[in-house]
C-alpha cells in the first residue's frame, strides 16, 4: 500500500488521512476512496475461518435437520395445542418461581448496595478493598446463573433454596457493576462538601452519594427483578425449583401439550413483568 501523502500520518484514521491528502494531490473534484478494502477482506477471511472451524467442531449436519423435520412438525402441532386442564397443577411451580425471584432480588439487592460503594473509586478511597471487591464481582459475573444453580443443587439439595442462592449471586454481579458505574458518574460536589466539613467517607457517601444514585438504584432493582423472573423460570431445569422443574418433568415424558402451557405461562409472566418494569422505571425517571 503506497501512500502519496507527504505528511506521514500514523495511528488511527491514517487511511482517511491518506485519502484526504490524495485528494489534494490527485483530483480537486472527487475524493479518492480510502484504501481500507484489504482490511475488510482480512476481517471477512478471519470470520469465515472461525466460522468454518466452528462448523467442523460442532459437526454441522443440515441433513440431520431434514431427517428430523417430521419430528419437528409433530412437536410443533402439539405445541400449539396447550392443555389448559394442566393449569392448576402448574400453580405451585408458578408461585415458587415468583417467590424465588422476589427473595433473590431482595437479598441480592440489599447485599449489593454496600458492595457497590466499595466497588466505586468515587466512594471508596481504599485501593485494596476496591480492587478485591471488583475482582470478586468480575469472577462472580463470569459464571452463568444456571451453572451456579447446578452446583448448589448438588451441594445443598434440590429445591428453591439452591435457586435463591444462585439468583443472589447473579444479582450481585449485575447490581454491583451497574450501581458502581452509576456512582462513578455522579456529581461529587456534595461529597466534597461533606468531606470538607469534616465528615468521614462513610458519612459523606451516605449523605451525598446515596441520594444521587437512589433513582438509578431503584430502577436497576426493578430491572434485576425482571431478569430474575426470567432466570427463575429456567433454574428448575437443573433442579433448583420453580417452573423449570415442571419443564424438566414434562419434557422427559414428551408431553408437549403440557410443555406449551408452561411456556405460555413463562411468556405471560415475562411480558407482564416487562410491562410493569417499564412503567415503573418510566415513572422513576420522571
Amino acid at each position: 500500500m503506497t501512500r502519496p501523502a507527504p505528511v506521514a500520518s500514523t495511528g488511527p484514521g491514517a487511511g482517511q488521512g491518506g485519502g484526504r491528502d490524495a485528494v489534494r494531490a490527485a483530483s480537486p473534484l472527487r475524493p479518492v476512496r480510502p484504501r481500507t478494502r484489504w482490511k475488510s477482506l482480512v476481517a471477512v477471511l478471519v470470520i469465515a475461518g472461525i466460522t468454518a472451524w466452528a462448523a467442523v467442531t460442532i459437526q454441522v449436519d443440515p441433513a440431520d435437520l431434514v431427517r428430523n423435520g417430521g419430528n419437528a412438525v409433530n412437536t410443533l402441532i402439539q405445541l400449539v395445542q396447550p392443555d389448559y386442564t394442566f393449569f392448576p397443577q402448574t400453580l405451585d411451580a408458578l408461585g415458587q418461581t415468583v417467590q424465588m425471584a422476589v427473595i433473590g432480588t431482595a437479598i441480592g439487592v440489599a447485599l449489593s448496595l454496600p458492595l457497590s460503594f466499595l466497588a466505586s473509586r468515587a466512594t471508596n478511597p481504599d485501593a485494596t478493598s476496591y480492587r478485591v471487591v471488583r475482582f470478586v464481582m468480575n469472577v462472580i459475573r463470569a459464571v452463568p446463573d444456571l451453572l451456579y444453580a447446578s452446583i448448589f443443587v448438588t451441594a445443598i439439595g434440590v429445591g428453591a433454596l439452591s435457586g435463591i442462592v444462585a439468583l443472589v449471586l447473579f444479582n450481585l454481579g449485575i447490581m454491583v457493576k451497574l450501581i458502581s458505574e452509576a456512582l462513578d458518574g455522579v456529581d461529587r460536589g456534595g461529597q466534597e462538601a461533606a468531606l470538607a466539613a469534616g465528615g468521614t467517607w462513610l458519612k459523606a457517601d451516605r449523605a451525598a452519594m446515596l441520594p444521587e444514585i437512589s433513582p438509578a438504584f431503584l430502577s436497576q432493582t426493578i430491572y434485576v427483578l425482571e431478569l430474575n423472573i426470567r432466570a427463575s423460570t429456567v433454574l428448575g431445569l437443573v433442579g433448583a425449583g420453580g417452573l423449570g422443574m415442571l419443564i424438566d418433568k414434562v419434557r422427559t415424558f414428551y408431553e408437549y401439550h403440557y410443555l406449551s402451557l408452561v411456556i405460555f405461562e413463562i411468556l405471560a409472566l415475562v411480558i407482564a413483568l416487562d410491562l410493569l418494569s417499564s412503567y415503573v422505571r418510566g415513572r422513576i425517571v420522571r
Binding site: 440431520d64 445443598i156 437443573v238 417499564s278
Partner: protein
C-alpha cells in the same frame, strides 16, 4: 439524573421559608406493598429452614473440595470442552446474524409498510421473551443431544435481540444521508446500502460481537441440559461429586469468559472509536475524563437498545423494554 436538580415549584416554596415535605401517600403505599410482597414470598416459599442453617457449612466444605487444590489433570479435557462450547456459541451467533439481519431490515420503519413490519417485530418480541434454555429444550427433543442443536438454539434465541437492536439502530440513523440517497433517485435497496448502512455499521458490528459474548455464556448453560461442551462436562462431574474437577471447570469457565469478553471488547472498542485498547486498560486510562453520561467502555457505545446510539449507559433508566438490552449490554461490558 440528579434527583435534586430541576424540580419545578421548588424555588417558590423555598423562598418563603423551608420547603414543606411533599406528602407521599403513593410512595408509602408502594413501599408497604413491596414489603408485603417480600414478606409473603419468604413466608410462602417452600424451604426447609434446617437446610438453610447447614447450607453455609456445606458450601464452604464443597468450596474446599473444589479449590483445595483443583484437579489440573482434567485441564486439557476441560479446554477441549470449552472450545466446543465456544464453537457452538460462534456458529449459533453467525447463524442468528444471517437470519436476523434481513428480518431487521423488514422491521425498520420507513422501508416497508406496517403490514410487514409489525408481524416481524412481534416475532422478535416473542423470541426475546422465551428463555434460550427453553428454546433449547424444544430443539433438543426434536434433533437430539448434539452441539449442532445447541448452536441452532443459540441462533434462534439470538434472533430476537439481534433483530430488535438491528432495526432500532437503523431507525436511529441520521436522516440526512437517507434523504440525500432518496433525492438522488436511489431505490429502497440503494438507500439502505448507501444511506443507512454506513452510519449503522459500527454499532451493528459491535452488538453482533456483544451478542457473541452473551452466546458464550448461553452455550455453557446449554451444555447443562445436554448439548455438550463445558456445561455437560460440568454437570456430569457435579452429579458424580467429582468436586476437584468441578473446581477446575469453574476456573476454566471464568477465565475463558473473561478472555473472550476482553478480546471482544477490544475489537468493539476498535470498531466504535478506531483505537485498539483493552477494555481493562481503557477503564483506568479514561477515568478522569469521564462525564456523568458516559460510563466508558465500548459496550456503552454499542447500546443501541436504549434509544439512540451512544446513550446506552445501562444505568440510564430508559423507559421501555429497550432498557433491558442496555442493561444487559453493560452487564458484561468493559470490565
Amino acid at each position: 439524573m440528579s434527583a435534586t436538580a430541576l424540580r419545578p415549584g421548588m424555588p417558590a416554596a423555598a423562598a418563603s421559608a423551608r420547603p414543606r415535605r411533599p406528602r407521599q401517600v403513593l410512595r408509602t403505599l408502594v413501599s408497604v406493598l413491596v414489603v408485603l410482597v417480600i414478606a409473603a414470598s419468604f413466608w410462602g416459599v417452600d424451604l426447609s429452614w434446617s437446610s438453610i442453617a447447614q447450607a453455609p457449612a456445606s458450601l464452604l466444605h464443597i468450596a474446599h473440595l473444589m479449590f483445595g487444590p483443583p484437579n489440573w489433570s482434567q485441564l486439557p479435557e476441560a479446554l477441549g470442552a470449552t472450545m466446543l462450547s465456544v464453537a457452538m456459541a460462534w456458529f449459533g451467533t453467525v447463524l442468528g446474524i444471517v437470519i436476523s439481519f434481513p428480518l431487521s431490515l423488514l422491521a425498520t420503519r420507513g422501508l416497508l409498510p406496517g403490514v410487514v413490519r409489525w408481524p416481524v417485530r412481534a416475532i422478535f418480541a416473542v423470541l426475546r421473551a422465551v428463555p434460550e434454555v427453553v428454546i433449547a429444550v424444544l430443539m433438543l427433543s426434536v434433533t437430539g443431544l448434539t452441539a449442532f442443536t445447541g448452536a441452532l438454539a443459540i441462533a434462534i434465541g439470538s434472533i430476537g435481540t439481534l433483530g430488535k437492536w438491528g432495526f432500532e439502530t437503523f431507525e436511529a440513523v441520521d436522516r440526512g444521508a437517507i434523504e440525500a440517497a432518496t433525492a438522488a433517485g436511489g431505490s429502497r435497496v440503494q438507500v439502505m446500502r448507501w444511506g443507512v448502512w454506513p452510519a449503522a455499521q459500527p454499532e451493528v458490528l459491535a452488538f453482533w460481537l456483544y451478542r457473541f459474548e452473551v452466546s458464550v455464556r448461553a452455550s455453557a448453560i446449554l451444555g447443562l441440559i445436554g448439548a455438550g461442551g463445558i456445561g455437560k462436562m460440568l454437570v456430569d462431574n457435579t452429579q458424580f461429586r467429582v468436586w476437584d474437577t468441578v473446581g477446575t471447570l469453574l476456573i476454566v469457565v471464568v477465565v475463558v469468559t473473561m478472555i473472550i469478553d476482553q478480546l471482544s471488547g477490544m475489537v468493539r472498542q476498535r470498531i466504535i472509536t478506531g483505537r485498539w485498547q483493552l477494555p481493562l486498560a481503557a477503564r483506568r486510562g479514561r477515568r478522569g475524563s469521564r462525564g456523568a453520561g458516559g460510563l466508558g467502555g465500548p459496550a456503552d457505545a454499542a447500546g443501541p437498545g436504549a434509544g439512540g446510539p451512544g446513550s446506552g449507559t445501562g444505568v440510564e433508566p430508559n423507559a421501555g423494554s429497550d432498557a433491558g438490552a442496555a442493561g444487559i449490554l453493560s452487564e458484561t461490558s468493559a470490565d
